[in-house]
Subunit: 469 residues, 4 copies
């Protein structure tokens, strides 16, 4: 009975030959050979590239940098983000238990946990501080510049509440993330596994360093300023009177209040920086997952793969998209707050930049803080745009699928990649892509141009004004 | 004879096995098992989600809230919108007979109906009032601020005429809506049926409450103002002289005229609010129909469905799209008027906000009215953007169709969802989506920034000025 | 031997039954019946609509309006546009021979034709006039307002040259148009044939009427103004000194020069209006061809058509697209000039609108001309956007193709309609769609708002200024 | 055994006939004949077009223009760009060896080469110059206008560094380009081969000529100005003191320094112009490759081609896309610098244009330089937008593939052309398309309008100001 299929195949071949004219057949042969040559050539350049990458991959990182850690990392987002969340917990955010545990199933949230209590307490304290700021601002004429303290403290408060809510959903989110990660094609080298955690740690470290540097510079400048506008004889008291004017607008000076104000300021500054970094870190994680998939696709680029391979990759791609969506739902309010905050502060700072600085300390602090602000905004924008870029990159590999293995599954995969817009969003109002960065930059530049053109010195640096950021 | 097909299937299987190399086969098996695992896992999280939702669904709503009504509702738009239209009829709009009837076939429009006569009469009255406003404005220097009464009364008049025309087409529209609704997959619970009517009633109620509150505040502020700019000894006369200055610009004071003016003002204010609410309510209705379809798709998500299932869903989706189109044709002029009106009024109010308020009553009224205006605009925008969002959501379910049941019908369905832009429009000039909301907000903020930067106090609050919004 | 295919079909049916589970089969039946009901219902509403349309179609147009003409028209663009081109030829544009001939093959262009000579002569005359305007403007301080005469005369000159070039290509374009038209599905009624020519004639008539009305008003206002700024005792001389100041800036007053100037003004004004109308008329023609195709598709909507039907329609659609492209290549420079001209003039007029008018005659002329300008711009925009709208409408009919007749040809047709952006363009820089209209309107409003906010009376109406538009 | 396939084919035909009703068959025949007629007609117009083109092709170019060169050219980008790079090398850019060699394999980069050393040396010299400019600017009040020297020198320095890096990758890029070119369908005539090189040479020549003319005008104007603001008795010294004020701000006048400054100025000006021309030339090259492919597709337009033909063309298209991507990666920083530079300089020049010119020499220089700047910007924009336009043109040919040869490969090709956005980018922030040109022009016009409206003479032409560009 086995002859039958063989026979049928033979017949099919014959039939094909008959339906085609001899000229077409010759043309076909000619085209085929030309195509093969082209393919071979592009294959060779590709092979050389792969080999080069392989070399890079195998040259181990500088061995003096925590080698052990590199070999223990398993490349999961949960593990990579652990220490970042630990720092956040110290600053009263994201009160989840088990962030440094090996497996996301150890994560838990409880209202009775000490972390949660601290977080809730700090929210109450921030709320009081926000109320005081609001009271002071409303008792003075309102302008674009004068509402700065409300915007600052208000957004910190909002982020605190959102992060508390996020903490409740975190264990579940991480479990889903873990499921998706387990299903993805495995990293080929230990380097690959190590890289995600390393990048996140580096971003956190650099961000924190710069944030601390800015805070110290702000203190120096404030001390300098306080002595210039000295209201009392005590320089420390002057400093606190100035940096916490919203407290001493209603109460007279007392050391505990000053300490509370200072504590509030330090924590607020951290949280204000942390929200940007958090968006960055989630973006890095999501982009890394897309890259993991793309790396696998690149390894098999131009080869004849079975439909099941493509089907599997498509489902994996879909899973990362769903993950992206879930994460976006969870953090899009933070993204929105972070973006509008940055835009507002850049505009205010640029407005101030036109005025003459009262002292060198101010000038140094001001320009450092402005550059830090712009740099941070750019970093958030570009890192989050990267999620979109990586998700589109898949298309490039799908374009090179050879004719022979072009099947409905590849077609479906391609169409899904083309038509989906995978990106973090600001509450679905805008997608974080490189085009957005350009349009935001364009808006700022236009605004600055108009400002410069019609500028009169407004003397925004006066002693009466609210100081802190 | 039954052996033959069986035999053929066997042969096919054999042939497949032969054409594939053993390695490919092994890889396939491996991939298949991995894919199955991934699918199973995602299936489990999905199942738990469904179960959770099921629980929520079965926990009945608070029983003290008109339970009976909930169990009588059949979830049609006609029924849900009935009382809303009844209120409108009281305010001389939408003179359709039978709005509270069970079935849309009882709807009818007749020029001889008492409702229609009242409506036509009120249009004539409004036209007179509009003429008087126009006359007053043209006899004073024209500015962005001074044309407010014309814009207000003009758009009210336009909406009245459009709504009269809409009333003529309403019975036919509702019949089409009914046909589409009957064909849709049925609600699974009584809760689902009850929800649409409930949401519409709540939106109407809250909107009316806030509108009444604003009108009362405006009266208090006007009385306050009238006594400050008192032209005569009589405070009531002062009030009417002020709020209906367009009438007493041509005629001397008389009580019937004052009452007519007051009546006109109250009705105009209601209609001005109602047009926004009407757009919202239609949007809620359309979005609910898409949701009904999506709910069904979600229930069968990831399962192997027959092509006929997909074909049916595609035709239902198409029907809702056509319904959307028909409704948009009918109300897009109202949408346009509502949007441009809101934009204009926000700009005018923001311009005014820079000036100092003459009294506390004014300040309270002004900020309440500004926040109400912005809130209402946002609500209209977001509710109508929701139609677009819901129509795109279908795609998410289609992405999860398993490989086995991927057929030409699903493909066609997917492609239609991708390429159609289903949304309410402002006369086809713009689609109501979330991106529009952002760009409108951006425009307002930019305008406000320019205003603030170059502001000089224009003293827009003077006694000579036309008062009524 | 005939048993074999029959047998095979039977087998196939059996095979299908076997592969499906009984449940699926039942579900299928259920779905199928539901789908059929839905389809039937939507079919009925559709049929009633068709019948209604049919009635409208058969009620003949008012019989007192050149009945004979209606029955002689064959619905071709060549015939419809004939008289429009005849008028243009009278005003020294489009010197093509045979524009009123029955068949486009009678069209010809020759450099030796009297029309061409007149056209070339007028171009030379316009060039001289443009040179004089340029000379006068460069000898005065340049501002946004003062360059008006150069823009006006420069664009008229440009359009003249482009139209001469277009005339050379016109016979070939019309032949192509004719070929496409012949291939299209025929009109069903004589009304359909008559409509295109009628619409074009109406647009031309209304445009010309308004243009003449505006010119007469401008003359009255200029006479009024000239007597106010009288330089000499002769009122006629005053008028010409004012309206042709660019001539009498270099030469002393003489009657022949004044007559030449007047002639130049009248002709320039006509051409300035004609370019807008020409864009409108071509748009109407193109949109009508798409509508002709769409009407045929609507007649067969929801029916099971053979693949050949779809293939034919697709090729017809493609042909109209190519026609659109060819026409756009030919007239896109005129479109560009028309659009930028209108934008510039609207901005200038709005700038002027803020100043107080010197007399009532001026005010009447000014507001009439402003409204005419805005109306004309809107008309051009909307008529040309209509080409795009009609080309997209085809999609709506393709969406309703029943499952049974869904074939690769329909799929290809659908995909082509989705991905092509068929529209007239301004030199490929922008596509003329409704979204463009909105963004242009937005730009003008923003500009006007900024102007109003920072306005100081510039006294743009002085006697020294160049007058003629 | 040969009967079987024949038999089966017969059966299939029969089956088809049976499944179709007689009416459908008749309709089919009717449609088919109509379609054939339409096709034939469009074919004829097409043939006549091809023939016309053929004639043009065979009329040899003017024979007095380096005929030999035309017949030696092989149409590769490497050969066409050779002399352009030679000129660049003379100006210390792109230090690659073997640019004029026949084959790209002769290209090489070495750090020890004399060209590289010269380039590195010049970078060091430019860096010093940049430092001096920065020092001078920071010691004066900063404004939009005063930072011009930093922007100018900074971007020149950046381009120098990027071009050094590009030189390292150039041999590899050219090899890839060569591979792609070899695989493309061959040019049909020697004219085709000659055209690319000719266009590039012309663009370079015209660009250089205008650049030299501008530099000479700038020198005349500077000499004129220097004598007006004469600080010393020596006119040459005055000239150098003025044009190299950043050097003589820190050092006293000496002839070697003046010569160094002059040398730096000449070279910087060249490089500033060259970066625009380089972007243009690469764009011309890429667009030419797409055109080569499109020409081949047009030659076979409407014919029935084998699937292998389409497969081959698709891979070729893909290869050019990848080439585009590689080139964009390599030069996108240059593109970005070039674009932002041009935008900034146009804005600054327009700002200056509002002031009165100190002398006729200045006016001539200023307007020449402004027009040159705008023209150059437009040229860069349009040439680079051309890459995108040519890549989309492929679609037009694919639309005309007849029904019979419509196969999965054509479908895949079409879908890839539709969904890919092939264009040069500015660091992926924006794609260089015609729409971009419009939006950039719109931005500049808006900025200029705002400037004009609120202009006060700023006296930007004072003796103290930094002069050079």
């Amino acid at each position: 009975m086995k002859i039958l299929p063989k026979l049928e195949r033979k017949l099919r071949r014959l039939r094909k030959k008959v339906t085609r004219s001899p000229l077409t057949r010759k043309l076909d042969l000619f085209h085929e050979s030309a195509r093969k040559k082209a393919f071979q050539e592009s294959c060779e350049t590709y092979k050389s590239q792969i080999e080069k990458e392989y070399e890079v991959r195998n040259t181990l990182p500088k061995l003096n940098r925590s080698n052990k850690e590199a070999f223990l990392s398993d490349g999961t987002f949960h593990q990579a983000v652990g220490r970042v969340l630990l720092v956040a917990e110290f600053f009263a955010m994201m009160p989840v238990k088990g962030v440094t545990a090996k497996h996301p199933s150890n994560l838990s949230f409880s209202w009775r946990n000490i972390r949660t209590c601290f977080s809730v307490l700090f929210i109450a304290s921030s709320f009081t501080n926000f109320g005081l700021s609001l009271y002071k601002v409303l008792n003075n004429p309102i302008s674009f510049n004068s509402i700065k303290p409300i915007i600052f403290r208000g957004s910190v408060l909002l982020v605190l509440i959102v992060s508390l809510n996020l903490a409740r959903r975190w264990p579940q989110l991480m479990m889903y993330w873990h499921t998706v990660e387990q299903d993805l094609p495995q990293y080929q080298t230990q380097m690959g596994r190590w890289k995600l955690g390393h990048t996140i740690a580096m971003v956190m470290l650099v961000g924190m360093m710069l944030s601390v540097a800015e805070h110290i510079l702000s203190m120096i400048s404030a001390i300098n300023y306080a002595s210039f506008c000295n209201r009392t004889a005590d320089p420390i008291q002057n400093y606190f009177l100035r940096t916490n004017d919203e407290i001493f607008f209603v109460a007279s000076y007392s050391t505990p209040l000053a300490i509370w104000g200072k504590f509030q300021n330090v924590y607020s500054t951290f949280i204000w920086n942390y929200m940007d970094m958090f968006v960055m870190i989630v973006s890095i994680g999501l982009a890394a997952k897309f890259r993991q998939l793309n790396d696998d696709l690149r390894n098999f680029k131009g080869m004849n793969m079975a439909p099941a391979y493509w089907s599997e990759r498509r489902i994996q791609y879909r899973n990362i998209c769903i993950l992206c969506d879930k994460m976006d739902d969870a953090i899009s309010l933070i993204t929105m707050v972070s973006f509008s905050n940055n835009l507002y502060f850049i505009c205010v700072q640029l407005l101030r930049s036109l005025n003459t600085m009262p002292s060198v300390a101010h000038a140094v602090y001001f320009y450092f803080s402005l550059i830090f602000l712009i740099g941070r905004t750019l970093a958030v924008s570009l890192y989050s745009a990267n999620v979109h870029d990586e998700s589109r990159l898949t298309l490039r590999h799908l374009r090179c699928v050879p004719k022979e293995s072009w099947c409905p599954e590849v077609k479906r995969f391609t169409e899904e990649v083309i038509s989906d817009e995978v990106a973090l969003t600001g509450m679905k109002f805008f997608h974080l892509t490189r085009k957005l960065v350009l349009s935001v930059a364009g808006t700022i530049v236009t605004y600055e141009l108009v400002l410069i053109q019609f500028h009169e010195d407004n003397d925004l640096w006066d002693c009466e004004q609210s100081y802190y950021s």
